[in-house]
Amino acid sequence: MSFLSSLADRDRVFDFLVPATSPVDVRHGPILYLDDVTVTFDGFRAIDNLNLTIDDGELRCIIGPNGAGKTTMMDIITGKTRPDTGSVWFGSRHNLLAMNEPDIASLGIGRKFQKPTVFEALSVFENLELAMAADKRILPTLTARMTGEIRDRIEEVLETIGLTELRHGPAGILSHGQKQWLEIGMLLMQRPRLLLVDEPVAGMTGQEMERTAELLTGLAGKGKQSVVVVEHDMGFVRSIARTVTVLHQGRVLAEGSMDQVASDPKVIEVYLGADPDEEVA
């Protein structure tokens, strides 16, 4: 059987995996491009003709009240939810709607979930090992060996996320904030071109938040990674964002710098006149 499946896997290398792992084509500008996307759940329009463009190396923050469609948008990009209409392109070559989750992930789109999901039965070290960019087919996974190089890389990330001490403990015993960090660490191991980060600082202390902000701004850059952050915490958004997009009822309400957005009357109305400097839930 292992032989058979390896055959099946090898077949795929030629017709499928090669284009998928080839570099993303960003010569024409944006790394992510959503065009007229609509999703309906039982008649409710979660996403309504959404248009969004993320440039290569950009750090973009997306804010919006509950039910604005932020998580659904991420579901669409990562292949979890299929839109009813519209198209989603990664660079100018990859149509994301024609791919499934693992394909999209190996293409270089990493995602951190709103609720931190780490593999609780595995150790922190093992969590990072699994996340690492590697040949993720069956046989290579079965015969994979821990080399010094891999170990160094994992140690490096452990250092970055401050979990070196806990590396051999099960991830299940980590605190909420530590789990968030581990998630970000797993994203780092993946070396994605595009990071989707859903509420990275929920449940974090002020100090932890600062480090997260440093980390995320350090990640983004031309030719490195593009980062999309969905966050409720306005202080945090202000501290990292260059461009902010406001979603409301499944469509883009406003886009621009934090100050522009914050003074937009439509945005203020949506937030019921609340001071955007304060945390909006």
């Binding site: 059987m1 292992s2 058979l4 499946s5 099946a8 896997d9 990562t78 979890k80 499934n100 989750e101 693992p102 992930a105 190996s106 990493g110 995602r111 979930f113 999901t117 780490v118 593999f119 609780e120 039965a121 595995l122 093992e126 090992e129 699994l130 996340a131 960019a133 993720k136 087919r137 069956i138 996974t141 079965l142 015969t143 994979a144 060996r145 797993m186 993946q190």
Partner: protein
């Protein structure tokens, strides 16, 4: 080499040590002691132990998918039975013209049904290498097709359990039909020899017992190697957070399929070793109850440990032998009660208890040690 990795683990060394020692002791007590010695192990008991060991291998196969992949298969009885039937078909062909009707090719039941030639799927089973290959391929192929369909559509959890149960049930109905060509109700029986060894001789029976023990050891090492590899960690990750694993770029359905098929093949081997020892294979092995019972062995022993599955299989089947002999009516009460007690009060099984004791002892000794260290 990933396959040799388990030999460096202490738990595997311990398991193999205990298993091989048990094989050696039983062999010695059977061969070297006279029949009137109280410590003598009769050939009947040896065969019974051999049966338990084949069940243990089956339980290890189930634990591989349930304990590490989170797939509760209620269809492993079917893989076991398919392996058993493949072996049974070989044994039937070995009877040759010594059957009641004396037909050189056709088994008795086919002569009885007035068939004039072997169905195509019986061809080749007179060759042992082909039959032994089919022991693994038949269940493997079923698991491949079934698993491919199920995992591709992301049928997991309870749904998968229910449809594996339906699969077993459908196969049982099918094998009960005489037209299928597997002996219908009565199944395959009246075997005579295996690879020219007389199945009724004491030596063959002891040999089968030892072979089953070695198969169990090999099966354990293979499973352990898978579990200890990165693939094993991907399995555990799949079990605990399937969607997350997918977002890491693993094609979860292929990993599930791979482990499922390996497990089905191990179950087939277990069935093939079981059949010559009990001397019969019939459709009752396909019954959904049997498949759930296997899961109970694993649950009692402690899922996700492999050795727990072995302990559970042997314990439950020993209890079954004792109970059905002494008070047959009480057996189903005991079995039913065991299901409830294990799931409610002993979710980690016996292995969990052992690990707990072990850990507590270690902690106790550590806390005992620490003042000394502090004093030093």
């Amino acid at each position: 080499m990933w396959l040799t990795r388990p030999f460096r683990e202490r738990s595997t060394q311990l398991f193999l040590g205990v298993l091989l020692a048990a094989l050696a002791i039983v062999t010695f007590l059977n061969l070297a002691l006279p029949a009137d010695n109280p410590l003598h192990v009769s050939t009947y008991t040896v065969t019974l132990l051999g049966k338990y060991l084949s069940y243990a291998l089956l339980a290890v196969a189930v634990d591989l998918v349930w304990g590490y992949l989170g797939i509760l298969s209620l269809g492993h009885g079917a893989f076991f039975a398919l392996g058993g039937y493949a072996m049974g078909m070989y044994l039937m062909r070995q009877i040759g013209d010594r059957g009641t009707y004396g037909d050189p090719v056709l088994p008795d039941f086919m002569v009885f049904l007035d068939w004039d030639s072997l169905p195509w799927y019986w061809l080749g089973f007179d060759m042992p290498w082909f039959a032994f290959l089919m022991v693994m391929l038949a269940p493997g192929l079923l698991a491949l097709v079934f698993g491919f369909l199920a995992f591709r559509s992301r049928v997991t959890g309870v749904y998968l359990s229910i449809i594996t149960q339906a699969m077993t049930f459908a196969l049982m109905l099918a094998f009960f039909r005489n037209e299928m060509g597997f002996g219908g109700n009565n199944g395959l029986t009246d075997f005579r020899e295996l690879l020219n060894f007389d199945l009724r001789s004491d030596a063959t029976r002891l040999g089968l017992f030892i072979a089953t023990g070695i198969a169990l050891a090999l099966g354990y090492v293979i499973c352990r190697a898978i579990v200890a590899s990165k693939l094993g960690r991907v399995s555990v990750a799949t079990r605990d957070a399937e969607a997350r694993t997918r977002f890491l770029g693993y094609r979860v359905e292929r990993f599930q399929l791979f482990v499922f098929v390996v497990s089905a093949m191990l179950a087939g081997v277990a069935g093939a070793l079981y059949v010559p020892q009990v001397g019969i294979i019939n459709p009752s092995e396909f019954s959904p109850i049997f498949s759930i019972e296997i899961v109970l062995w694993v649950a009692l022993g402690g899922r996700g440990t492999l050795y727990g599955a072995v302990i559970g299989a042997i314990l439950v089947n020993y209890a079954k032998t004792v109970f059905t002999g002494a008070m047959p009516d009480a057996w189903l009460f005991a079995l039913g009660g065991l299901f409830v007690l294990v799931t409610v009060f002993l979710p980690k099984g016996i292995a969990g208890l052992l690990a707990y004791r072990f850990k507590r002892d270690r902690q106790a000794s550590r806390s005992h040690d620490s003042p000394k260290e502090a004093a030093a």
